[in-house]
Subunit: 198 residues, 2 copies
Amino acid sequence: MPETAADHQGRRSARQRIIEAATELFSTRGYAATTTRDIADKVGIRQPSLYSHFKVKADILVEVELQTFRPTLDLFATLVADESLTALERLARLVEFDVRMLCDGPWNVALLGYLPEVRNEGIAHGMADHGHELYQAYRVLVHGALTESGRSEADPDTTTEVVFSLVDGMILRRVHNPRLDGGRLAPAVREAVLAMVR
Amino acid sequence: MPETAADHQGRRSARQRIIEAATELFSTRGYAATTTRDIADKVGIRQPSLYSHFKVKADILVEVELQTFRPTLDLFATLVADESLTALERLARLVEFDVRMLCDGPWNVALLGYLPEVRNEGIAHGMADHGHELYQAYRVLVHGALTESGRSEADPDTTTEVVFSLVDGMILRRVHNPRLDGGRLAPAVREAVLAMVR
DNA sequence: GTCTATATAATGATAGAC
DNA sequence: GTCTATCATTATATAGAC
């Protein structure tokens, strides 16, 4: 088996080590407050060496965001593809997975997508709004669950907003308390969500 | 009636005009990404003139934060002082007021307290953590409401975290949708909260 | 790809005239 | 209290040797 480029220096490619260092720093200090020198220092290289892997600082941010949202969006795709599930079951599973990830992931990186400087930088670079994608996923499942439950009196869009607030609100809780217990909170959030849609 | 200092230039003191300009800019661009020059430009003065009113940039932030949290913390004090109310009623009113303020306030300024650069700057300047104060207020009311309802099987601290997430989650919703309708969302959130505690 | 050296630009803050 | 002028620092990014 030939040695890949990814095996150099601790088995991860320099590019991936940059992304991981940036993930931690962006999460804990914010994007604008993190300098390219901070990132390079943590990786163990010189600041200009970053530019062998990324054209500009914002390109590092794009990769961090991408790797953050992929798991949850992938799960949504899987849940929708599984036709044996009801919308209510799909919603329950997505909520529980999402809350666990938000609580127990290595860094509170989901906050990044809400930082003003990131959103402004994002617009300037035309990067994908994964947060909006995920919101649409919730919207589909909440509408479906309300329909299944015959809750025709409920406003599906208002319910979607409240459900999504409840889940993503965990991001803010984690800012004040970095050691959230996903195993305890995920079922509690799931039950609160189910109480709204059935 | 003698003219006050606050009457100069549009009836608001220069200091207050700086605070209001900074509130908008910090809310829309973030703290680190807002320069003192940005603030001065919006006020219509030169950048060094800011330093006649504030010793350092972070002192402007302290004032912005103070004016943001004061109304909600004041309401909590009022609700607790009113002995004719049950804990459940106090919680319902606090939630509804809070959500309306988060949705309909002129700027999404509550996000500020969650920005990493603000929290780090805050620690360095020893500024008060109003977000934590407010959380304790919710904790008191959620515990009281669960006790009143005889919900001895519920975990009050978990419920507090979920309730607070639901309310503050509106901050994140507003990032994606700046035109939230507090009149529609506040009752929906209130009912979701009440479903958890009674 | 990483390094040293450096360009270029912007930032927070100060000094001192008015 | 506001101004002009300016300082000291720090930031992103580039050039070119190895």
